[in-house]
């Protein structure tokens, strides 16, 4: 080995390592540093040297298995104003269903909306939302959404609207210009131009409609919604001569009588109804006074709730007295009630109705009448969309006669007084098409081919229209029969505005640029009207000028608040038409005469609590949200009383043929105790043939069974069809044996659902006795202190003992919390197959139980004797958690603050924790549910298509996305706790205020049934609630798990006269 001597000047460079290694200086250094090993080095060859180097590197690698300090780089050289990367921003916006707006606050992470909450200032939401709004975020990232403008290829494969008729269409991508060229052919006066719109209450649409009608006077405008409160509107026309919007104020009522209404689900105003109802039954004067001691002067009398219903709904489950009857019997009950009231200002011809309503009905009617009379002005009758206009008219009349108007019922004048009812509008449109007077049909949203009543044959009519354009988010059944399809913007992508139940305007503020080339309804209308303003923003600003948003400041204020101040309507004081009484009572008497004469079976339709009218069918969260009553996912069914089914020889999952209004459909049978005898209840909105991967082939479309004749129900024929169909219910699928039924009954009645009557609860002596298990050991104090720490040494933001209280009295079972939890915590959907296997991933579930009189099973008693009750179950965060002890790798542990924590990284998936959890709230990722589409779960990971990029955008970055083989469960939204703690720390180590942290389920709950907080804070709401005398821990008496989540007994307020 030779070495080149360094030159005399300049810096020394070595050509190679051996060169430097060979210098005398280096050898000398080596000699000094490693006297014992220097000789070893001296012989090092180049190869040897490299070997040693390699070995040292390898060893260095071995010794350096540690976390390197994280080095952060600044992402923005110049950070945009008001924007911190990774810090979410919140915008007020609004979402509209059936013409009713909800005020929302959407959370956006780096430009991606990922979660919505209710707007605290919006009169409908007051901070809460329904499940639809929660799930709407997912729809933004729906990969099946229509993209751009499409023109259908003229190889028309099909016509007709029969069930299951598969569309055979192909599309060509077009542009807005192509479409504009086509629209040029529309006559300038609008002759032959028809617009079919969804219900829309916002000023912008109204403004654009007016402009279109002005620009093209020949235009005809129709509005159609498959599920609406039109019957109520028509009822007010019958009663008062003009249409009104009826808004019951359930919080002000002492007696509530629901006439086949579905108040807490499937209604655009359900959030308000739920909250008002809960407030009227709260065992304290007001929700904020939850800490008040019971039975003091502050305790408000609990309202009493009667429900007459034709299918078992959450409304019935919440009621104190439920009268399940056939839908046609409901008018008879109402008539009997009117008769029984003996009101001086109301003369009702005597009529014997007992045969139709039965002894039970008669007793019920007498009791209700007595209560209503005793609470004049403090009672309220509410009718629902499952009853015709005549019934609504009589309800309006009775409310008026009882002096309830203006107190427990508020009326608002309908802003669009001249429009026909939705079904009449659609019928007229079909007539016009048949008369060939429709040249161009523009369908703005909605899916009438799918959800029109069967007798209208709308699909066949639509196919005849020379030029049809459909604006929709998906290429659905209606698109398949239109020549043009225009992608519709999601509400989080486009400007708009809405009006809610009381007229309050909320601005729809987009959070994200349209992901695809899409348009909103007002933008399409602008195109049609040749408007000068074509951008949504400009249209909305212009329209809101009239509503008083005329300055920049007001606009900004309205955007910030989410509502337009001063836009609320003044309540109307409608006056009954002359001679209204007989004109209203006679039609109901006629209906009452026909009660139950239509045959052995009757069919009644209800909007699906999950899919509403079917518009959410391609939303996986909602498809997998169990129906609160049947707990079905991914399907609708013919819901039958078990005894009715037994008489036909039908068992669960049998296919039955249902024939109504001249149409026949095979449906799977679902047996629901408490369902009125002889009634087939079916949920609308299922059975899409084309809409997307999620919606396609799920459930059965029952819209063809409906008729446009104004009667919401129909006599039906029911027979066993032969064949089976698996329904994916998440509860009670296998309880057919007596042993199981017995245990079910005993447990539900005695341990799981604790229930008392209001009268019973008021007795001070009757406090529930809590079993206190003594421990031999020093138990954890959860006072935030590490051993030896003094209280003042612990920072204020660290001294917590988190807990939760769930009030069974308030909970209506609406399931908004299920979806809110799913949205917040990146919970995947698993699909019907997996639900059938019992592998749904919901961290939060709403258990539904039935109660029957003593020694009887719910399946065996009359429907009226069955009570339903809902119980929200999430991780109880047991202080003595059975799951923690058994995990072999310590992946689930207890925090200092009492959270039962799950370390996903550490979990190897033995599933022992789930086995040992008595509540079974743990969820296991049997597959990589988050990694790809649910249809390929059984394909090895390497061969499985990846998750769509679009779907990845929806995930909440605050929460880990779990991989396959990992257990997961409710964390009490620990990310929200930590975020708040960081804020509190930053703000000078201040304590965290009560209510500052809200879990996702708590925040969404319209009834405030879920309360989370710090049990170390004696003043916190949750502490006060957990000190109530009706608190119990689920299974705590049996297992001493010391759950942090405690339940408050369900208190019902039954009428002793009906006992």
């Amino acid at each position: 080995m030779s070495s080149i001597k360094p030159h005399g000047k300049g810096r020394t460079y070595w050509r190679s390592l051996e060169q430097v290694a060979d210098t005398p200086q280096f050898k000398e250094f080596l000699e000094k540093e490693f006297p014992a090993h220097a000789s070893e080095w001296m012989g090092a060859s180049r190869r040897g040297f490299l070997k040693i180097m390699a070995a040292s590197f390898a060893l260095a690698g071995l010794t350096s298995c540690r976390r390197w300090p994280v080095e952060k780089v600044a992402e923005y050289a110049h950070r945009p104003v008001n924007r911190t990367p990774g810090v979410p921003v919140h915008y007020a916006t609004s979402m509209e269903i059936g013409g009713i707006g909800q005020g929302l606050v959407a959370t956006s992470y780096d430009g991606r909306p990922i979660k919505v909450e209710g707007n605290l200032t919006h009169p409908l939401n007051l901070g809460a939302t329904d499940a639809y709004a929660q799930a709407s975020v997912l729809s933004v990232y729906d990969p099946d959404r229509a993209r751009g403008v499409l023109k259908r290829n003229e190889s028309r494969g099909r016509g007709g609207d029969g069930p299951g008729a598969a569309p055979d269409v192909s599309w060509t991508a077009a542009t807005g210009n192509d479409l504009a060229a086509v629209l040029k052919d529309i006559p300038a006066d609008g002759a032959g131009l028809v617009v079919l719109s969804e219900a829309s209450g916002g000023p912008s649409v109204a403004d654009m409609k007016a402009r279109l009608l002005k620009a093209r006077p020949g235009t005809q405008w129709f509005e159609y919604e498959a599920v609406s409160n039109d019957a109520s509107r028509a009822g007010t026309v019958l009663a008062f001569g003009q249409p009104y919007r009826v808004v019951p104020n359930l919080d002000k009522a002492a007696v509530i009588v629901s006439i086949d209404a579905d108040l807490f689900n499937s209604d655009a105003t359900a959030v308000k109804f739920s909250r008002d109802f809960a407030n009227g039954r709260r065992l304290f004067a007001a929700p904020e006074a939850a800490g008040a001691q019971p039975e003091s002067a502050a305790v408000s009398p609990m309202s009493r709730f009667y429900a007459v219903e034709s299918t078992f709904t959450t409304t019935g489950a919440c009621s104190d007295h439920r009268l399940p009857v056939k839908p046609s019997v409901v008018p008879a009950i109402l008539h009997a009630l009117a008769q029984e009231l003996h009101l001086a200002n109301l003369s009702i011809p005597a009529k014997v109705l007992t045969p139709a309503i039965g002894d039970r009905g008669e007793k019920f009617v007498k009791a209700v009448a007595a209560e209503l009379l005793a609470n004049k002005g403090r009672g309220v009758l509410v009718a629902g969309p499952r009853q015709p206009a005549e019934v609504h008219a009589l309800v309006a009349l009775l409310n008026d006669a009882l002096g309830n108007n203006g107190h427990t019922v508020t009326y608002y004048a309908d802003p669009d007084a001249t429009r026909p009812t939705h079904s009449a509008a659609l019928a007229k449109l079909v007539d016009l098409i048949d008369a060939k007077s429709v040249k161009t049909l523009v369908i703005l949203g909605g899916n009438p081919v799918f959800d029109a009543p069967g007798d209208l044959h709308f699909g066949q009519a639509l196919a005849k229209v020379p030029l049809s354009i459909h604006l929709a988010q998906h290429q659905d059944e209606t698109s398949a029969l239109c020549q043009w399809h225009v992608a519709q913007s999601h509400y989080l992508e486009a400007w708009g505005d809405t009006r809610t139940f009381d007229g309050t305007i909320a601005i729809v503020q987009p959070l994200i640029e349209p992901l695809f080339d899409s348009k909103s309804a007002i933008e399409v209308l602008a195109l049609l009207a040749n408007d000068t303003q074509t951008k949504g923003y400009d249209i909305v600003r212009r329209a809101l000028q009239a509503a008083g948003v005329d300055t920049e400041w007001k606009w900004k204020q309205s955007l910030f608040d989410g509502v337009v101040k001063g836009s609320t309507w003044a309540p109307a004081t409608p006056v009954l038409k002359d001679q209204a009484s007989s004109a209203i009572i006679d039609p109901v008497a006629k209906l009452a005469d026909a009660a139950g004469t239509g045959g052995e079976f009757e069919i009644t339709f209800f909007a699906s609590p999950a899919l509403y009218d079917g518009r959410f069918a391609n939303n996986g969260w909602l498809q997998e949200m169990p129906d609160p009553m049947t707990r079905l996912t991914w399907d609708n069914a013919a819901v039958l009383n078990p005894q009715t089914a037994a008489a036909l020889g039908v068992v669960a999952d049998d296919l039955v043929t249902v024939e109504a209004n001249g149409q026949k459909i095979d449906l799977p049978a679902f047996l629901l105790p408490g369902q009125p005898e002889g009634v087939i209840g079916v949920a609308l909105g299922y059975g899409h043939t084309t809409m997307g991967q999620i919606a396609g082939g799920v459930g059965h479309n029952v819209y063809p069974l409906r008729s446009s004749n104004g009667l919401p129900w129909a006599p039906a024929k029911l027979s066993k069809a032969g064949g089976r169909y698996k329904l994916a219910t998440v509860q009670d699928h296998h309880i057919i044996d007596t042993v199981g039924k017995q245990a079910y009954k005993v447990r539900v009645d005695e341990d799981i659902i604790k229930e008392r009557t209001y009268a019973d609860w008021k007795k001070p002596a009757n406090e529930s006795k809590k079993v206190v298990a003594l421990s031999l050991f020093d138990e954890h104090k959860f006072n935030g202190r590490v051993d030896g720490q003094k209280p003042d040494e612990v920072p204020a933001h660290d001294m917590h003992k988190w807990g939760m209280a769930i009030d069974l009295t308030s909970c209506t079972g609406c399931s908004a919390c299920v979806v809110a939890c799913q949205a917040e915590n990146n919970i995947p959907i698993v699909g019907k197959e997996q639900v059938l296997h019992g592998r749904e991933m919901h961290w939060l579930r709403v258990d539904r139980y039935f109660k029957a009189p003593e020694h009887k099973f719910p399946e065996d008693v009359a429907a009226a004797e069955v009570e339903g009750v809902h119980q929200v179950v999430i991780c109880m965060h047991c202080e003595m958690a059975p799951c923690e002890e058994v995990c072999p790798v310590g992946a689930t542990t207890h925090s200092q603050e009492g959270l039962n924590m799950m370390t996903y990284n550490r979990c190897i998936g033995t599933r022992y924790c789930s086995n040992n959890c008595p509540y079974k709230v743990r969820r296991f990722n049997f597959f990589d549910y988050n990694a790809g589409d649910k249809n390929n779960l059984y394909t090895p990971n390497l061969l499985r298509p990846e998750l769509n990029e679009l779907q990845k955008m929806q995930k909440n970055p605050e929460v880990t996305v779990r991989m396959r083989g990992v257990m997961e469960k409710c964390t009490y939204c620990v990310q929200r706790i930590e975020n708040t703690r960081i804020v509190a720390k930053r703000e000078g180590d201040r304590p965290i205020a009560d209510g500052e942290i809200q879990t996702a389920c708590q925040q969404v709950c319209p009834t405030q049934a879920i309360v989370f907080g710090d049990l170390n804070d004696p003043a916190s709401k949750v502490t006060k609630l957990q000190q109530q005398n009706r608190v119990y821990g689920l299974l705590d008496d049996t297992l001493n798990t010391k759950p942090r989540t405690q339940y408050l007994e369900k208190i019902r307020n039954p009428n002793e006269a009906l006992a």
Partner: protein, 490 residues
């Protein structure tokens, strides 16, 4: 000590066998029939492994077993690359076939060590005929058992996290968890069993080496026999070590299944949370283990002509052990019912009602009848001696014991506390094939063992031959006792 003369014994049931089951208080029953001497024993047993070709039936059995083993591999591969979801486990039934198979195989693995350790300590000489392959069976069963906890976890590539190895994160396993106790119990048991088995085999392997005719055999057996020369010192050390290992293994027989039973007893699931489990599980394990020994011994003795070593008396004795342990298991079943009633815990009461009258009552009744009623047949001599009846009953016991574990695990889980969680379970094809595949693994290993290793402990069996005791009749010193008889004296 004298053994009764072979000539006095009647032939047994026309199978050409000698019936050595009758008890004669004046004489010890002979344990090796057929006039065998030391040489004949060596010839016979080595002959199995040295034959140019095994019997045709071996090929058939090996073919089927190997096929099943491949099925097992395919199923595990599919499982690893897809997820535990390919099994039909669900919530609430998070364990079913996986842990059932684990406990079943661990249970099977009990007979071998019991025979080799406990019977050795109790000087039950008849164990020599069956101990070798019972031990082999134990090890193969533990191999099968060990597979299941490894593959059943959600992320099997992280199974090593169960081991308390030092790491930079400072994380340790949770020593409270019975699953961790399992890891230690089963791995200890497997280690001791392998040691015991292998050590016991060393003298026989040396015999194989000495008789080797090919280089391969010479070297392979040469390495395996660890330089055994049959020296006195070798025998001395060997005997001591064997005794110590037996003493070490004996508590393990009791501890392993006790610990496995803690998986259930320590939890709070109704039907699992029972203090009777440790003795009940151990009895059940021995019960199923002996049934499996008979299940394997019957065809093996026939196939390889080992009827002189595995005699009707061996089968008779084992059937008696099955009777005893089966009765213990039956008692435990009844005691569970009694305690459920007596304890007045409604959840536990329901579990036992549900077991016998719920949707899976069939499984419940299979378990009860196969394990508590079937072994009662062994009160009858005919059932203990007729190989066909014996075989059928032992298969039933095996079936029953598999169902016992299934009933405890899956039925315990499917209906626990909250009725809203109640669910059901049925296996997927992957689970069924994995179970069958585990039999493939077991049988493949066992058949390879039969073919290549000494199936019967030659050195030991020579010690129970009459010739080994020649010296006992009179003068101990004049007996001309061979090395083997010295060994046998221990």
């Amino acid at each position: 000590m004298t053994t009764i003369s072979l000539d006095n014994l009647p032939p047994a049931h026309g199978h050409g066998e000698i019936d050595n089951t009758p008890e004669n208080p004046r004489h010890r029953a002979t344990l090796v029939t057929g006039h065998a001497d030391f040489h004949a024993v060596t010839e016979k047993i080595c002959g199995v492994a040295e034959a140019a070709r095994p019997p045709k039936a071996w090929y058939v059995a090996f073919g089927i077993s190997f096929l099943l083993l491949n099925v097992l591999g395919a199923m595990i591969g599919y499982l690893f690359f897809t997820g535990v979801g390919v099994w039909n486990l669900n919530r609430p039934v998070c364990w079913a076939f996986d842990i059932t198979n684990f406990v079943f195989w661990v249970g099977i693995g009990h007979a071998g060590t019991l025979i080799s350790a406990i019977l050795f300590l109790f000087r039950q000489k008849w164990r020599t005929g069956i101990n070798r392959f019972a031990e082999a069976m134990t090890i193969f069963a533990v191999v099968c058992a060990g597979t299941f906890p490894g593959i059943h976890i959600g992320r099997p590539w992280l199974a090593y996290w169960l081991a308390p190895y030092p790491n930079q994160m400072g994380t340790w396993p949770n020593f409270f968890s019975p699953l961790l106790w399992d890891v230690f119990a089963v791995s200890t048991y497997a280690t001791v069993s392998v040691l015991f088995w292998y050590m016991g085999m060393v003298p026989d392997l040396a015999t194989f080496r000495d008789r080797a005719t090919t280089k391969v055999r010479y070297y392979v057996y040469g390495v395996l026999s660890l330089g055994w020369r049959g020296a006195n010192r070798h025998w001395h050390v060997y005997e001591r070590a064997y005794l110590l290992l037996a003493a070490l293994a004996t508590p393990l027989v009791l501890s392993v299944h006790s610990v496995v039973s803690f998986d259930f007893a320590v939890s709070q699931v109704p039907g699992w949370h029972t203090t009777i489990f440790p003795p009940y599980f151990v009895a059940g394990a021995i019960f199923s283990g002996f049934a499996m020994v008979i299940t394997l011994a019957l065809p093996a003795r026939h196939l390889f002509g080992l009827k002189d070593f595995i005699t009707p008396r061996h089968l008779d004795n084992m059937a008696k052990i099955i009777l005893v342990t089966g009765s213990m298991v039956g008692y435990a079943y009844l005691m569970e019912f009694f305690i459920a009633w007596y304890g007045q815990n409604p959840y536990e009461q329901f579990h036992f009602l549900n077991r016998e009258f719920g949707p899976w009552r069939v499984a419940g009744w299979i378990m009860f009848s196969c394990n508590a009623i079937v072994p009662q047949c062994f009160w009858f001599k005919k059932c203990r001696s007729n190989p066909w009846i014996l075989f059928t009953l032992c298969i039933l016991v095996n079936v029953g014991m598999w169902f016992e574990r299934f009933v405890i695990i899956a039925l315990g889980l499917h209906r626990d506390f909250l009725p809203s969680n109640w669910g059901s379970y049925y296996p997927s094809y992957v689970e069924v094939l994995t179970l069958l595949g585990s039999f493939g693994l077991f049988c493949t290993l066992f058949l390879l063992f039969c073919r290549y290793l000494p199936m019967v402990a030659m050195a030991e069996i020579k010690s129970v031959l009459p010739q080994a005791h020649a010296g006992h009749a009179g003068d101990r010193a004049s007996g001309g006792a061979s090395q083997e008889t010295v060994a046998a004296a221990h």
